[in-house]
């Protein structure tokens, strides 16, 4: 059950993110309402239900996180695999990973998103903003995965069973599919699951700093930033998205934590 809770949460929130009507429910007669029986999370400056907006924002954050996770791992695995067969790549790979490691992830994503968005006519389109976020997060997060995959493959390379497969006529594709991929698959599953909270946080910080999607598709970081502007008078604007972000991070990490306690 503990392992399934994060999965159910992700599915529910991602499903909720497709509710397009939420952002258009503007009602000037109910602006800045405090949390109550009719609106559990209160309302924002345009009279929209804040709890619904926050849940939808959380779903969008998760969606961005899932897409970037898939792209990151595909890139990392493919490039790591290719680099492991290129003998002269040692110093190059170490340098690239060093440089990527020396810049905070958030800054790299910011740089990539600026560089990518220069190619678009305007980033006001939701799809374009979504793609830019996904691609830039993936571009900044692939090097550690490539490094690990490369090391694993290099460790496997001299093994007898692999030599036997080559002698028996196994193609490189067969080798990659049946031996290398199987060897790294448990690590990939575990590492991907542990990266989800981290990716959500990166996405939230990006939205917070203005790199995210526009206000119609506001994610949690954007809602927190918007709420902070009026936090002195209407604290619920800031508290509701913050609590939801904390809860999501807590549930995701709780579901993945090992039950064995250190003390």
């Amino acid at each position: 059950m503990r392992k399934l809770t994060p999965l159910f949460l992700i599915m529910a929130l991602v499903g909720f993110s497709f509710q397009h009507t939420i952002s258009s429910q503007i009602d000037p007669s109910r602006i800045f309402l405090s949390p109550g029986a009719s609106f559990w999370g209160g309302t924002d400056s345009l009279g929209r239900d804040l709890l619904q907006r926050s849940l939808r924002g959380a779903g969008l954050s998760l969606l961005i996180c899932l897409f970037s996770l898939i792209l990151t791992y595909v890139m990392g695995m493919v490039l790591g695999g290719v680099l492991s067969f290129w003998k002269r790549a040692n110093h190059l790979v170490i340098f690239i990973v060093d440089v990527f490691d020396s810049i905070p992830n958030f800054l790299l994503v910011a740089l990539f998103s600026i560089l990518i968005s220069r190619g678009f006519v305007a980033t006001s389109s939701a799809n374009a903003a979504f793609s830019i976020l996904v691609i830039s997060i993936a571009l900044s997060a692939w090097p550690p995965i490539a490094r690990y995959v490369r090391l694993e493959i290099l460790q496997l390379k001299g093994k007898d069973f692999l030599n036997a497969t080559i002698v028996l006529g196994g193609s490189p594709f067969y080798l990659a599919r049946t031996h290398y991929l199987r060897a790294i698959w448990p690590w990939v599953k575990l590492s991907a699951a542990h990266s989800i909270p981290q990716f959500i946080l990166i996405e939230s910080v990006l939205s917070f700093t203005g790199f995210g999607m526009n206000s119609d598709y506001a994610t949690l970081g954007y809602l927190i930033f918007e709420g902070w502007k009026n936090a002195l008078i209407y604290p619920h604007l800031f508290v509701v998205p913050s609590v939801i972000l904390c809860l999501i991070i807590w549930i995701l990490t709780w579901g993945l934590q090992e039950t064995k306690e250190l003390f």
Binding site: D98, V99, S102, I103, P104, F106, L111, R118, V205
Partner: protein
């Protein structure tokens, strides 16, 4: 004597060489962005053209067209002009903002370095470490994005202990900024360190030292600390990156005119040369930190010296 000196100096020179190579490679990456991304580098003459002295600089060669000029730009860290501050060079703006932030960032990093070791040591020695660890575990679950605004809200809005906005003349503002920056990174570092201390406790050499009758403090600091220094180095550098990310959030919320706010402004204005300038600043800052921490630990732990 000479061999002793050379053995002490060699790792330093090795690391310096590695640092210089990394720094040059970083510069190459930055200048490659300038070369390949249109609009990333704005030379002086683009702005002078509008004034009366345009004729005087019209013959000036473009960026990268002359090897001499390119090398000069490379080593003088000439990142061109910013889009929105037409009279200022990127490097000047970046340096001005950075020197503002360094006033409290340097203190924060030093405090993080020493206090995390000390506090983790005291927690390991304490009988109530379970409670401490539970507290730190809870703290680690709260993202910086939420923690920093909440702390600012309580200290400045709700209880008015510190000013509503950052005041450069007030000492309490500086202390508050350092405190807010350090809550989360220090909690994480202490948590990681305490767990690491505990894992190390089950090693044979620790049990042997205990069997010899050595005191707990001596075992922890003289025997165990050298062995966990390498892990601490890795943790510390990762946590410093978090501290820098926290700095962006803090500066934008508490109106501190440092490089975090400067970076945010340059991003919102789409000022690409300035963004690249800030990236150079962060990377070189991190490289320098990496280098200095490695040197400290290399002299602490001979094992690291040998592995180098």
């Amino acid at each position: 004597m000479l061999s002793l000196l050379s053995s002490a100096a060699k790792p330093f020179f090795d690391l310096t060489f590695k640092f210089l190579i990394n720094f040059h490679l970083l510069l190459i990456i930055i200048f490659t962005i300038f070369y390949f991304v249109p609009g990333a580098y704005i030379d002086d003459e683009h702005f002078v053209e509008n004034t009366s002295v345009a004729g005087a600089v019209a013959d000036k060669p473009d960026f990268f067209f002359s090897v001499k000029d390119s090398l000069k730009a490379f080593y003088s860290l000439d990142f061109g002009m910013a889009y929105h501050n037409r009279n200022s060079k990127v490097i000047d703006i970046v340096w001005k903002k950075a020197s503002y932030s360094f006033r409290y960032l340097s203190t924060s990093i030093l405090v993080l370095f020493f206090f995390s070791i000390l506090i983790s040591f005291f927690i390991v020695r304490s009988k109530n470490r379970r409670h401490f660890l539970l507290f730190f575990r809870g703290l680690n679950q709260i993202p910086q994005l939420v923690l920093i605004p909440v702390v600012i809200y309580f200290f400045s809005y709700a209880f008015s202990i510190v000013p509503l906005r950052f005041d450069p003349n007030s000492r309490s503002s500086y202390c508050f900024v350092i405190f807010v920056l350090l809550i989360k990174p220090m909690g994480q570092l202490i948590h990681l360190m305490v767990e690491r201390w505990h894992r190390e406790k089950s090693e044979t050499y620790v049990q042997f030292a205990r069997a010899k009758g050595l005191s707990n403090n001596r075992i922890l600091f003289v025997h165990m600390f050298k062995n966990i220094a390498n892990s601490f180095l890795g943790y510390f550098l990762t946590i410093v990156l978090q501290l820098l990310t926290g700095n962006f959030i803090l500066e934008s919320l508490y109106s501190i005119p440092g490089f975090g706010l400067g970076f945010m402004d340059s991003v919102s204005q789409r000022d690409l040369p300035l963004v690249v300038g800030y990236l150079f600043l962060f990377s070189s800052l991190y490289l320098t930190l990496h280098f200095s921490v490695q040197i400290v630990f290399m002299y602490l732990n001979p094992k690291l010296r040998e592995s180098e």
